[in-house]
């Protein structure tokens, strides 16, 4: 009933909000916990995605792979310090049964370098499959479909 729909929407919004929050505020260690295990996290350009080409830029199939990404970011990769700022638009709840919600949302991500340079780094759409069978909600699948197939310099922090 309505209140349920309401509750699901709120839970989904919280999950999606927590995602942007932990990335932008540099609390990446919380990021893997937002996914189930196994899961699917894929950052891929729209041109590849629409052409049915599966090669992305970043890909994880397990929470372990997410943890490795965070560990590596912290300890085993070098890059100039920078941060993101996500703006995620209103969610589009495409479907929801007791177990799974399919949710789309638009995003813009600005990248801010340590020197202050700010650029519109990425835009696109999150295509999410969310496990709503239990609290806390978790991503079963999150595909970040990038509108552009060009990335400036590198992609270190997940989108």
């Amino acid at each position: 009933m309505a209140s349920d729909a309401q509750a699901i929407r709120r839970g989904v919004e919280d999950l999606i909000g927590a995602y942007a929050d932990c990335i932008d505020e540099d609390r990446l260690e919380e990021w893997p916990d937002l996914f189930g295990d196994p899961c699917r996290y894929l950052v891929i350009s729209r041109s590849n995605h629409e052409a049915g080409m599966r090669q992305g830029v970043m890909y994880a199939a397990t929470r372990g792979m997410l943890l490795d990404r965070v560990y590596t970011l912290r300890h085993a990769n070098l890059f100039e310090p920078h941060r993101y700022r996500h703006i995620v638009g209103p969610i589009r709840l495409k479907s929801a049964d007791g177990a799974t919600a399919i949710v789309h949302s638009h995003f813009m991500v600005a990248r801010i370098m340590q020197g202050g340079d700010t650029t519109l780094f990425a835009t696109g759409r999150y295509v999410d499959r969310i496990d709503i069978s239990a609290e806390p909600y978790r991503f079963t699948e999150r595909i970040a479909v990038l509108d552009s197939d060009r990335i400036d310099t590198l992609l270190a922090i997940p989108i």
Binding site: S45, Q55, Y59, R69, L78, R150, T153, L154
Partner: protein, 414 residues
């Protein structure tokens, strides 16, 4: 806008000892950049255009760039692959705007002039005017006009083009070693797993040097040492072709031992210093020769890589003195099963813009560029492994980089 950024030449002064000291100004000088377009990218070099499988049928075309110049590659009705400059003869409009497609002919959208698949001008709208009024000046003969043509060659399923009439045929130019290296990797029919491109904030040469630089890998790429990747690597070597411009380096790996090692690792998963999920390095010896890494470069700006089971072509496209576009074309091969595809995709985390091993290569050139900003006097030192540019059986060497400069100076006349 070729000339819009062109300054007076500051002169590039090469230190006496040839190719083991590289003047920093080659990365910052606009005149040098413009001459590179002419002497290298429009000069006697073979450059990657596309995969042959992208031009499977007559009419299939790809539009791309060679250096800064827009070009088209197309398979004609006889099945021949032609390539020409993507610039209409009439007023210079970009003839073809699609990146890929199928065409019977090329029609310029501006005034409708048409060209056949060999680039010959076949149609001029209103050539004789409308109702006998207007039309082209009588002495204009359309059969005297065709798009500027490129030579084309195919090797290992890769299509190459050149503006030069004098450069030797592709295999001769590459030499036996590099040809062999290329054919080793491209030993099956490829398909495209996906493309990614990166904008690098640096001069294009800093990236191709980085690829040829066998010296930095174990130092810059902490990931390899942190997780002891390649710890079972056996010494490899470097092959450099005669002119010095093209090369490949390789290393072998005890695949079986590594796999076993990761199995054991499973038992001590508490260890901080190992991957939680090692599937990203879980590799198979798909070439059956134990070689786990082969990096091949073709002068001036192409790379063919095998890093374990990731196969990719990289194209380096200059976009100004301090800007370079790097395109990754990730390949699979006919006959790959789902397990192999998934393996390539997971290993894909090692390479590309977010690659555990490739990431640093994406910004290091930008750091050099920044350090040279208004500070480009003097020369860098490229003396690891001596002063020559010979093939060598070891990797703690900068020989391949010296090779690049050897051929660079020859073509640039410096």
């Amino acid at each position: 806008m070729a000339h819009s950024e062109q300054p007076a030449d500051d002169g590039i002064h090469w230190p006496s000892n040839g190719i083991s000291e590289v003047p920093f100004r080659v990365y910052t000088d606009q005149v040098t950049y413009d001459r590179e377009q002419e002497c290298l990218f429009q000069g006697p070099t073979w450059q990657y255009l596309c995969l042959e499988v992208e031009l499977a049928d007559p009419g299939d075309f790809v539009s791309t760039t060679m250096g800064e110049v827009e070009v088209i590659a197309v398979r004609d009705t006889e099945g021949t692959i032609n390539a020409f400059v993507n610039r209409c003869i009439h007023r210079g409009n970009l003839l073809c705007m699609e990146r890929q497609g199928k065409a019977k002919k090329f029609t310029c959208m501006y005034h409708g002039w048409t060209y056949d698949l060999e680039g010959k001008l076949t149609g001029v709208t209103f050539e004789r005017g409308v109702k006998n009024k207007g039309g082209m000046a009588p002495e204009f003969r359309k059969d005297e006009h065709a798009l500027r043509r490129l030579r084309v060659a195919v090797l290992g399923g890769l299509v190459f083009g050149t503006f030069s009439d004098t450069v030797p045929d592709l295999e001769t130019w590459l030499g036996p070693d590099v040809t062999r290296g290329l054919l080793r990797v491209m030993n099956r029919t490829p398909y495209i797993l996906g493309r990614n491109s990166q904008i690098l904030p640096n001069n294009w040469k800093l990236y191709i040097e980085n690829v040829k630089d066998t010296y930095h890998a174990s130092i810059l790429h902490l990931f390899l040492t942190t997780f002891k990747i390649n710890k079972l690597t056996m010494p490899g070597g470097v092959f450099i072709n005669a002119d010095g411009g093209s090369h490949y380096s390789y290393a072998k790996l005890d695949y079986a031992a590594e796999t076993a090692a990761y199995k054991d690792a499973g038992l001590r998963s508490e260890s901080e210093l190992q991957l939680q999920d090692s599937s990203i390095v879980d590799s198979v010896d798909e070439y059956g020769d134990g070689v786990s890494v082969q990096i091949l470069t073709i002068f001036p700006g192409m790379v063919l890589q095998q890093v374990r089971n990731t196969i990719a072509v990289r194209v380096i496209r200059p976009r100004g003195i301090g800007k370079t576009e790097l395109e990754w074309i990730h390949l699979g091969f006919d006959g790959d099963d789902e397990a192999m595809t998934e393996r390539r995709l997971r290993q894909g985390n090692l390479i590309g813009p977010a690659g555990y091993v490739a990431m640093e290569d994406g910004f290091i050139g930008g750091f050099v560029q920044r350090a040279l900003h208004y500070n480009d006097d003097g020369a860098g030192i490229v003396m690891m492994g001596g002063h020559e540019a010979q093939s060598q059986p070891f990797k703690a060497s900068e020989a391949a980089i010296r090779g690049f400069w050897k051929h660079y100076r020859a073509l640039m006349g410096q």
